[in-house]
């Protein structure tokens, strides 16, 4: 559409950015024309969010430049980004739930009463908010509190909020992650209305079917580099998937050959949703069962249900041949299930406590006698685990908060290895840790399998799932959409299923 104009609305040229140990962006070029929806796709860690954070003034770039309307600009703060008409709608909403829709939309620029700067002009606020929502062609009451809205409506309020600030470039990060199909349609209508008025939209999503429907142009990022950038009409889904995956499997995932033993844990028609579809799978001794899916596809919910945190509406969990009702984490631990949570900071560790105290948190009964702790028993377990897992800490007494992400993750693992559960559920075990620590986590997963444990590996990083698992169950929108083993278990196949495609066809 905008190709006839001489300068793009936004041009990011040769952007590079490094974090300690990682080159997050390597000479990335990105152009955006008015009136287009430009999709930005890539695996986790490909550099999408770093690029967006640079655009939004959250990060500063190491080198490169940004041009708006052909003129170089310096976006060094979110405030400046908003001055240049750049708005980002994040995955996590930034709305105030108790305030009304109108108040939320106009929050950054409350209209004041003429002559009385400190007083809010409520009429102007309501009519301003209503105008924006009317322009978007949606019917949401401006006077209702935001918390009474559905997630999809809140999403639209986020967009409306961005529009209250004279936005020219709207970035949407996984906007449909929490939306139903009908709601996605509604959002797409809004996006079409916006671009028809000359706005440019950067659309970040893992869901390729949606990307192909809504965007005009698509850029693939991989390992911090632009792999391709072309009009969507010239691309096919399979090409995009190949470009996203790219690299070959390296020697990182050297899972030992383990003979698979008796079944340990089985789910039969497990219902995580009152109206959903049942989930079934089986995991055996010495087996690593991968559960793949995009963020929010239901795999984390499944893990939490197996651990007694999430409600189960039907179906059965069978542990070593016996049906089991796992009503609480305490019960889960008792029956021999361990859970490495996806977010170690919020749920995995007590950040204020030492390495030692975190490791023994799961085995306090074993290191105490009549309720009194034995510091020797504790020290024995802790020094074993620090050695086995090669946790890099100056002392067991070091506060866990002061360790690197990789070592913190090893402390989480140590805590569970101390319990020695039969089934280890691991959610995103390598999220946010460096390559070296990743390799060690993989080694530990292999070791658990060799010791006859059943491992459920849940991850949105497809190479890791494919590399480590004996069998992969793929989930999409809360359902199991396929099971892959052996030669058929490729990154392409997993990604195709996970993004809502079918298993057959290449």
């Amino acid at each position: 559409m905008g190709d006839t104009k001489d300068a793009p609305l936004l041009a990011m040229q040769g952007i590079s950015k490094s974090f300690p140990g990682v080159k997050a962006l390597d000479r990335v070029d990105f152009q955006l024309w008015p009136g287009e929806v430009h999709a930005l796709v890539g695996e986790n860690g490909a550099g999408k969010s770093t690029l967006i954070k640079i655009l939004a003034g959250v990060y500063s770039m190491d080198s490169g430049q940004t041009l708006i309307d052909g003129k170089p600009v310096d976006i060094s703060s979110p405030r400046q980004a908003s001055k240049y008409g750049i708005s980002v709608v994040h995955q996590e909403f930034t709305l105030v739930p108790q305030m009304t829709v109108a108040e939320n939309i106009m929050l950054s620029d409350m209209p004041s009463r003429p002559g009385l700067r400190l007083l809010v002009d409520k009429k102007a606020m309501v009519s301003g908010a209503r105008d924006i929502l009317d322009d978007l062609g949606v019917d949401i009451s401006v006077s209702s509190p935001v918390r009474s809205l559905t997630v999809a409506e809140q999403q639209i309020v986020e967009v409306a909020k961005a529009l209250s600030r004279k936005t020219r470039i709207l970035v949407m990060d996984e906007p449909t992650a929490a939306l139903s199909n009908v709601e996605v349609e509604r959002l797409f209508k809004v996006i079409q209305t916006l671009v028809s008025k000359g706005m440019a939209v950067v659309y970040i999503s893992h869901k390729l079917d949606e990307v192909f429907r809504i965007s005009d142009r698509l850029t693939v990022l991989r390992d911090g580099r632009v792999i391709s950038s072309s009009p969507i009409s010239r691309l096919t889904r399979n090409e995009v998937v190949k470009q996203m995956v790219g690299r070959e499997l390296t020697g990182m995932y050297d899972k030992p050959e383990v003979s698979i033993g008796r079944p340990v844990l089985e789910a039969r028609d497990l219902l995580l949703d009152p109206i959903g579809q049942g989930i079934s799978f089986k995991v055996h001794e010495g087996e690593v069962l991968g559960i793949a899916g995009l963020m929010g596809a239901g795999q984390i919910k499944l893990a939490r249900a197996l651990f007694g945190i999430e409600r189960v509406y039907g179906g059965e969990v069978i542990l070593r041949g016996k049906p089991m009702r796992i009503s609480s984490p305490a019960k889960a631990v008792e029956t021999g299930i361990g859970l490495v949570t996806e977010n170690r900071k919020e749920e995995g560790l007590v950040q204020l406590l030492s390495v030692s105290k975190n490791i023994t948190l799961t085995v306090l009964d074993a290191v105490s006698h009549m309720g009194v702790l034995s510091s020797r028993a504790e020290a024995d377990i802790v020094s074993d685990k620090i050695r086995d897992l090669d946790i890099k800490t100056p002392s067991p007494k070091q506060i866990v908060r002061n360790l690197s992400g990789g070592n913190q993750q090893k402390v989480v693992l140590a805590k569970w290895l101390a319990v020695d559960p039969d089934v280890m559920i691991m959610c995103e075990p390598t999220r946010g840790i460096d390559v070296g620590a990743k390799a060690e986590i993989y080694r530990l997963i292999g070791e658990m399998a060799r010791n006859g444990k059943a491992v459920l590996l849940i991850s949105s990083e497809i190479p890791e799932i494919v590399g480590m698992s004996d069998k992969v169950v793929v989930m999409h929108s809360g359902r199991v959409v396929g099971e892959l083993t052996g030669a058929g278990c490729t990154q392409e196949a997993v990604l195709r299923l996970a993004t809502g495609g079918s298993a057959v066809g290449a």
């Binding site: 651990f307 945190i309 984490p329 305490a330 889960a332 631990v333 008792e334 859970l339 949570t341 919020e346 749920e347 995995g348 560790l349 007590v350 950040q351 204020l352 406590l353 105290k357 948190l361 799961t362 306090l364 009964d365 105490s368 309720g371 009194v372 702790l373 002392s395 007494k397 805590k415 319990v419």
Partner: protein, 316 residues
């Protein structure tokens, strides 16, 4: 281990230095301050708040708060006096006081743990309930307590040390042991540091939180025994504002209001800061009207100084 620098020492013992400075300053300002008999007086005064603050420390370590302790002191005292009048058995009276404390603590613990109501609201309600029941029971009149056991607790000495001081010393030894050496104590810190992580480690968070509030209530009952013995009567308005002194002692002692960090040793220092201040102001003939002003100012100043120590230590 980390090297011990002056800053580390300040960080660990900051409040103790402040207490020491107060003692030195008051010694110079009034000759009657630095005497054994005055120190015994201070310790006797600190005993009541000290016992309350020990329980409060446990609650605050879990990230909670207990506003009901002052009301518990009053109700426990009056019921104990009532039991004494009815039976003449002073040991039974003591048990009644401790039992009332345990019951109120259990009620707090139950609502906080199992109904997930905020501790602030639950204990504000039980504070009002305890005060209300006290007034209903006593019809607003004080009850005399006249029994040798209470005489002994309030005014007696063992090896030259006042009995209340001995009791509170025991309390601190026991609570210190529980917090540092037992599984339950470890969980108190862990729950305050990250409740969800504890739950997901298979820990019964609810039961342990319930126990914490029971400890706090029990110690409030014990405080009430000491207070009743000192006054030789149970006052329906006893313990008014005690919850705030206890919380102040905990905070001065360096326990984080958000839980997970701190300990009972600091609380003891905090309780002494408040006690020494009150005693010093009395000796200096400061009008009681000004004493609260001074207390507020000292709390604010002490916490600010402590924060300054901490930030220097953190920014190394």
């Amino acid at each position: 281990m980390e090297p011990k620098s002056f800053i580390d020492v300040l960080r660990r013992f900051g409040m103790a230095f402040i207490l020491l400075a107060m003692i030195i300053a008051l010694s110079f300002m009034n000759p009657r301050f630095f005497t054994i008999s005055n120190f015994l007086t201070i310790m006797r005064q600190v005993a009541i708040n000290g016992a309350l603050a020990a329980g409060m420390t446990m609650v605050i370590l879990t990230g909670g708060i207990d506003l009901s302790v002052g009301g518990t002191v009053a109700l426990a005292g009056c019921f104990a006096a009532g039991a004494l009048h009815a039976t003449g058995n002073s040991w039974l009276a003591v048990l009644v006081a401790l039992g009332v404390g345990l019951i109120i603590g259990s009620v707090n613990g139950f609502f906080v743990s199992y109904t997930k109501l905020p501790p602030f609201i639950v204990t504000l309600a039980t504070l009002a309930l305890a005060r209300g029941f006290t007034l209903v029971y006593t019809e607003g009149r004080p009850l005399l307590v006249d029994a040798p056991l209470f005489d002994m607790i309030g005014g007696g000495f063992v090896a030259g040390i006042p009995v209340p001081v001995l009791i509170v010393a025991m309390v601190y030894i026991v609570v210190g042991f529980v917090l540092n050496q037992t599984k339950f104590g470890r969980l108190v810190y862990a729950i305050g540091g990250n409740e969800q992580a504890c739950r997901l480690s298979g820990i019964n968070v609810e039961r342990n939180k319930m126990l914490v509030y029971m400890w706090c209530g029990f110690l409030a009952g014990l405080s009430s025994v000491i207070l009743t013995s000192r006054l030789l009567s149970a006052q329906p308005t006893a313990g008014t504002g005690y919850e705030l002194d206890a919380i102040a002692a905990v905070i001065l002692g360096g326990t984080s209001l958000s839980g997970g960090e701190g300990g009972v040793r600091g609380t003891l220092v905090g309780a002494f800061i408040i006690g020494v201040l009150a005693n010093g102001l009395n000796l200096l003939n400061v009008s009681p009207f000004y004493q609260d002003v001074a207390k507020g100012a000292v709390i604010l100043a002490a916490v600010l100084m402590d924060k300054a120590f901490h930030s220097t230590a953190d920014s190394r």
